[in-house]
Amino acid sequence: MSVRVQTGDFDVGAEIARLRQANPRIGAVASFVGVVRDLNEGRSVAVMELECYPGMTERSIEKIVAEAKSRWDIFDALVVHRIGTLRPADQIVLVVVTSAHRGDAFAACEFLMDYLKTRAPFWKKEHLPEGTRWVDARSSDDAAAARWGS
């Protein structure tokens, strides 16, 4: 398991290669990259800032990964989440899950993303043309997390 919260960017190909390394039983690698869009709820976004709770954020993600491992037959999972100032088209988050079979890899990857978007301690501030605003929690993300029945 590997969880990192960092200001710097990440290299998807290199991260996948590292997670796959030296496990010949891996048959499936599901991954997800979240990207800053230039629009959010119809508003033009130039810059956003992501804040975390250092320590608790990492610990909460590690617990989520452990839960994914208990729910699905997966080998390993990687979560890299950026904080700090991000601009449209910047990568925000990477989740990679390895498994013998694709079903478990996809399910665990989507489960981790749903939790990251709804439960992990991150707060987002958007810089809009008329000023900055802290983003409110979104009910559609709560619904996505609720699917997993926790």
């Binding site: 320590g55 608790m56 709804t118 991150f122 983003v135 979104r138």
Partner: protein, 85 residues
């Protein structure tokens, strides 16, 4: 009892501090009492931490509820609902 308070995101900005070390009166032994103690500061404290406002509390980096007990050197964080990445 000495505890470390941390504030994140909008609450960090409104309270104009990212954290503080406070000495609590003996009667302030759980999260509910701590919130009442902070509200007594008045101004933005009573406004932002009023019952019904959307904020969360963690004690020692675990999500807490009003009855969660405090202890010497506890790390208590108060923050808005998370908004993800």
């Amino acid at each position: 009892m000495k505890v470390k308070l941390l504030y994140f995101a909008r609450l960090r900005e409104v309270f104009q501090r990212s954290g503080e070390d406070v000495i609590l009166p003996e009667a302030v032994a759980d999260v509910s009492a701590l919130l009442a103690w902070l509200r007594a500061r008045g101004g933005t404290w009573s406004a932002e931490l009023a019952p019904g406002r959307a904020f969360r509390v963690a004690v020692d980096q675990e999500m807490a509820d009003p009855r969660t007990a405090l202890h010497e050197d506890a790390e208590v964080a108060i923050f808005p609902p998370v908004t993800g990445g």
